[in-house]
Amino acid sequence: MPDIFGIPPQALFGQLLLGLINGSFYAMLSLGLAIIFGLLNIINFTHGAQYMMGAFTAWMLLNWLGISYWWSMLIVPVVVGTFGVLIERTMLRHLYKLDHLYGLLLTFGIALIVQGMYRDQFGSSGLPYRIPDALRGGTDLGFMYMPNYRGWVVAVSLVVCLTTWFVIEKTKLGAYLRAATENPPMVQAFGINVPRMVTLTYGFGVGLAAFSGVLAAPIYQVSPQMGADLIIVVFAVVVIGGMGSIMGSIVTGFGLGIIEGLTKVFYPEASATVIFVIMAIVLLLKPAGLFGRVR
């Protein structure tokens, strides 16, 4: 096959696939952020820390209690989600009527405290988490060696993202949620407990972050810093996709993963900045984001 821009096609396909894998983390994390922002109007800066807590909780379950990866996928989102619910009940709910900035500062502060506590307890080098036996090894795709676990991550995150989208956009529960976003007093007048719905939504968003953390644990080191490194990129993804847009965050997440992957081939030095360059351009041309609408 001829080279494409001087890059052998095998390498190019490989990088596209890798971009898709990274994109699935971006998509799942930005999805959680988008849901929380859509309903609560809170810019949840604790998201990265909650992702990290997810990975650590999985590690603790495995090493202290001997609970396997598969059970962790169920237990961890519930545990960390409950932590989220506590935060919402005790702190966040006092801020809904104030400017976005207050929620951002509060959640940012919580993130710093949580990360500091984990760093103090576990150090910064990170801890190893074994890939579950059923997903070890890999498949030779011809153009690259595809670790089975990475394939699993893409599949799971696609399922999770699309299910979430379906529930919010196409079901009755989702209709309540969207209505409560538009006009909370009206929905409350119909006998729906809006504050409880808000709390559970936050818990669900946090649970999504924790779930991504479990998925990430076997790939990256489980370290206190893992969320902080990722969250800035994820925020850029949300801004590009349009704050609060569900489909926007999914599509942008996967898309930007791919663009980042390609940058790593053509100009690796820029791979850490390319997403922010795109963000700047999108903000200039379409301030509400690609899929967002002006509110």
């Binding site: 052998p8 095998q10 390498a11 490989g14 990088q15 890798l18 971009g19 894998i21 990274n22 760093r119 150090g123 910064s124 080098s125 990170g126 801890l127 190893p128 074994r130 890939i131 890999g138 690259m144 060696y145 670790p147 676990y149 990475r150 790939i219 990256y220 080191q221 370290s223 810093q225 893992m226 490194d229 990722l230 992957g261 790593k264 081939v265 690796p268 030095e269 791979s271 850490a272």
Partner: protein, 401 residues
């Protein structure tokens, strides 16, 4: 009469109190390190602890030297580090800055210490430039450098058949220097460098870079990075079957804490060059026992050992000169006195500021060979002090001539 006697006694007592105070030398040690990011475990709070242990073991108080400590996080940013350094020297009257893991920050502090005529004891930073073109009469580079790592690991690997290389390089001063030094060794021994890819510091995902390394078909993938970056590259290389498909990894800078983070299952068989390992002799084991008891069980890395030994030698020089104010004079005394400490044994500080001691080539044990927690390395070879570091003439250090 009795009154007079009392007065005399009082005066005598006062003089007795005042005398040592007049002879007392004040030293303020600033430990500038990574307290929050990827190098925290290999340096960080452990470096502060090591410096305190050195002061304690030296018996500074009994020798009339009063030592104060400050420490700060440089956040791996040269501008943050420079600001702290300037403030310490100008406002806080710090006499010596220690450690500084991150060559970018270390090169900045190197200049500031020279301008202000203070002392800089490098343990954590690796760039061989610190005793090469950027060398300074105020700096001592203690533990290791990129040339020593390249020479130790690079030549061991080329000699056993690993003659084509591809580098995964951290994109800042340290990575570039380590890549350049290793490439020089590889070329000198008749090997070939097929290419390199530069990744941002603190990158999370290395799979793209590893894939590029794979398609280069080089026999050896040289990891010119450190700390969390190395750990993640090794881990993901295992995932993508780099080793299983016939390529080998060379961790050019791997610390004990990295091996601990990886676990022996993933790290086994890795070869690396280090200046110190805790399980070498009775003195190093005793040090490790005290150190780990005060450091949440984390055993000392060579960076911690270097902080300890360099502070110890520095205090000896201050004691001999009875002053810490003239940084250049203290460093000259450090170079004039032979070094002797429990962790590195006997050695010297060369004219260009390079501390000379043996280096060691270690191999990470298999899980079955490890008998106790932190029992990770076996010795492959000792690189004698005379061969371990760059010959002084090759460094082009202006003050060494």
């Amino acid at each position: 009469m009795k009154k007079l006697k009392n007065m005399l006694l009082g005066a005598a007592a006062l003089t007795a109190l005042a005398l040592p105070a007049a002879a007392q030398t004040n030293v303020k040690i600033g430990i500038l390190t990574d307290m929050s990011s990827l190098y925290t475990d290999l340096a960080g709070a452990g470096s502060v602890l090591a410096a305190r242990m050195a002061v304690e073991d030296f018996g500074a108080a009994a020798k009339g030297i009063k030592v104060d400590f400050v420490s700060a996080d440089h956040q791996n940013k040269a501008d943050v580090g420079s600001n702290v350094g300037r403030q310490w020297f100008d406002v806080d009257k710090v006499d010596v800055i220690v450690d500084v893991p991150n060559s970018g920050v270390a090169l900045a502090i190197n200049e500031i210490a020279k301008d202000k005529n203070k002392v800089f004891l490098v343990s954590g930073a690796a760039s061989s430039g610190l005793t090469g073109a950027a060398c300074s009469p105020n700096t001592v580079h203690w533990t290791y450098d990129t040339w020593a790592l390249a020479n130790g690991t690079g030549s061991a690997i080329v000699k056993t058949g690993g003659d084509s290389w591809f580098f995964l390089t951290a994109d800042y001063a340290f990575g570039h220097q380590l890549e350049a030094d290793t490439a020089a060794v590889v070329n000198k021994l008749g090997g070939k460098v097929l290419g390199a890819v530069r990744h941002p510091l603190n990158a999370n995902d290395f799979s793209s870079f590893l894939l590029q390394a794979q398609s280069s078909r080089a026999k050896i993938v040289g990891l010119a990075n450190a700390g969390g970056d190395t750990v993640n590259s090794i881990k993901q290389a295992a995932e993508f079957g780099i080793v299983r498909r016939g390529q080998n990894l060379a961790g050019l800078l791997v610390f004990l804490t990295d091996v601990h983070a990886l676990g022996l299952e993933t790290a086994q068989g890795l070869i690396m060059t280090e200046a110190f390992y805790w399980d070498q002799n009775d003195a190093s084991r005793a040090f490790a026992k005290r150190f780990s008891a005060a450091n949440k069980g984390i055993h000392p890395t060579m960076v911690h050992a270097g902080v300890y030994a360099s502070v110890l030698h520095y205090l000896k020089a201050v004691e001999a000169g009875k002053s810490a104010t003239d940084g250049k004079a203290v460093v000259e005394r450090m170079k004039a006195m032979p070094t002797d400490d429990p962790l590195f044994g006997k050695g010297v500080v060369r004219k260009d500021g390079r501390k000379i001691h043996d280096m060691y080539l270690f191999e990470v044990k298999k899980p079955s060979e490890s008998k106790a927690p932190w029992d990770y390395y076996k010795l492959r070879a000792t690189i004698p002090a005379a061969e371990a570091f760059r010959p002084i003439a090759d460094g082009k250090c202006p003050i060494a001539g």
